[in-house]
């Protein structure tokens, strides 16, 4: 699959904006918990971000009803779900399938290979993306599993279902 075949540039369906905003509201408490937890357990990753701790990243999982806005500033950490039509002006955007992005965070997939295959698309400040990639790559263990474990058995079950449904292209 190529990303370009999948990314839709069409105007939203009627009512879609409401659904997206609802989805954002539902996941936001979870995201806030997740990002605080990751930041406290893996504080060393901030050093590799250097000046891009204050960069606004837009992480866009193409099949989800919302994108994620990340500002990895240890003093004022932001990870929030945003409807695409209300996304902030991002310094850098990273776009791909949700499970691919998750596998990249956990270094189960190689970012350069995903870029070569065109499954991963980046735009904006390339240095910011490279720093974020290298910072996450230096994290031992699985951020996805840590996150799933925060939600006990249901969390782990959802993660393993997602992984089963993910077929690398």
């Amino acid at each position: 699959m190529t990303l370009n075949a999948t990314v839709s540039q069409k105007s939203p369906l009627p009512g879609r904006g409401i659904a997206e905003r609802l989805a954002c509201a539902v996941v936001q408490p979870v995201l806030s918990r997740v990002v605080r937890r990751i930041a406290s357990r893996h504080s060393s990753l901030f050093a590799r971000l250097g000046p891009h701790q204050s960069t606004d990243f837009l992480i866009d999982p193409i099949e989800l009803p919302f994108a994620l806005h990340l500002r990895p500033d240890p003093q004022d950490l932001v990870l929030r779900a945003v409807p695409r039509d209300a996304a902030p002006r991002a310094g850098a955007t990273i776009r791909g399938r949700f499970m691919l992005l998750l596998e990249l965070i956990d270094s189960e997939e190689d970012g350069d290979a995903a870029f070569f295959s065109r499954d991963l698309e980046v735009s904006g400040d390339t240095e910011a993306v490279v720093r974020l990639r290298n910072a996450l790559d230096d994290v031992d263990g699985s951020i996805a599993e840590e996150t799933a474990a925060m939600f006990g058995r249901p969390g782990r079950a959802i993660l393993s279902r997602l992984r089963r449904s993910y077929i690398p292209s």
Binding site: V7, D112, A113, F116, S123, E127
Partner: protein, 332 residues
């Protein structure tokens, strides 16, 4: 020293541990500055991280090689000297050097520490290699990727040091150690600043038709169609138009990676001591996949079995691979 040592890349401490655990005989890495040719943002080691990495590797019988393989500009040599002093203090097993001044400093200040001659020195003749051995005590040369196996076999007979060859990874070879393409466009030098196509000068643009262009310092390097595989934004792999080629063509070389997995027995037979995997800028996932595959292949060959090699094409640039000049000088 074992035959056919596997020399593996590490851009972060986690990648180093991954390489060690996957069976690397030695791991090479660099500091977070211009002293090495992968001076990329967010990559590489602080001295404290290197100290921990050396301890981790040595506890598992793996060596650590420190890349000091760039060329100090006039008046800035102290950075390289300090890096060498720090590396020696932390107990690295060898320095990979390109510059004669750096080699000379280490040979005098840290006698007894192994020196490996980087591919960046572009030493491809017995005469050049012997010079480095005689004057700086170089123990191993990393050969440029421009030689055939018969040529390597012949060089081996004429030099007093070990040979290391690349077996997998990026294939931007030009005249190694002397490429000024990035310098020409960005003002930053691959050879002195340690970075080719600095990320701060790279921009990707997606177009309405699904194509994507890559730009360096505002110059378009390539434009990939919606279903085309992409490559690194390096000038040597760019596609350019010219009056006689208005459709655009790879003026230097196409996005492709080296993969010599099928030539390993011949390389061992030709007297190659060590095999290098390129890719300090790559992820742990790459390191794990490539090191595991080559560890198994080398072990198979040592045991007299045919090498059962995993398919690594998904990890290659442009998702294409070549045996380059190792197979034939006409590879392009």
């Amino acid at each position: 020293m074992s035959l056919a040592e596997l020399i593996c890349p590490a851009g972060t401490p986690a990648a180093l541990r991954t390489a060690v655990d996957a069976g690397a005989d030695a791991v090479y890495c660099g500091f977070q500055d211009a002293t090495n040719a992968r001076n990329f943002p967010g990559l590489n080691f602080t001295p404290a991280e290197l100290a921990e990495a050396v301890a981790y590797a040595h506890a598992r019988g793996t060596k650590v090689l420190l890349a000091l393989n760039t060329y100090p500009p006039a008046g800035k040599v102290d950075l390289w000297r300090q890096a060498a002093d720090t590396g020696a203090r932390l107990g690295v097993d060898a320095f990979i050097v390109a510059d004669m001044g750096v080699a000379d400093y280490i040979a005098r200040t840290h006698p007894g520490t192994r020196l490996h001659l980087s591919v960046q020195a572009a030493a491809s003749s017995p005469e050049a290699i012997r010079y480095y051995c005689a004057h700086f005590g170089v123990k191993r040369v990393v050969l440029p990727r421009i030689l055939t196996i018969p040529e390597i076999r012949q060089i081996r007979k004429e030099i007093p040091c070990e040979i290391e060859t690349f077996i997998f990874g990026n294939h931007g070879l030009m005249v190694e150690g002397r490429c000024s393409l990035t310098n020409y466009l960005t003002g930053q030098s691959t050879n002195m600043d340690g970075v080719c196509s600095p990320a701060s000068d790279v921009e990707y643009k997606r177009h309405e038709d699904g194509s994507m262009s890559s730009q360096l310092a505002g110059f378009t390097i390539d434009c990939f169609g919606a279903d085309e595989k992409a490559g690194y934004p390096t000038i040597c792999k760019g596609r350019y138009t010219a009056p006689h080629r208005p459709e655009g063509y790879y003026a230097f070389e196409e996005p492709i990676s080296l993969n010599l997995s099928k030539l390993l027995p011949e390389l061992i037979d030709a007297g190659v001591h060590a095999f290098k995997i390129e890719g300090r800028q790559r992820s742990k996932s790459y390191v794990r996949g490539v090191v595991t595959a080559f560890r198994k292949a080398v072990d198979d060959i040592r045991a007299g079995r045919p090498a059962d090699m995993a398919d690594l094409v998904a990890l290659t640039e442009g998702q294409k691979q070549t045996q380059g000049a190792f197979e034939t000088k006409k590879w392009r």
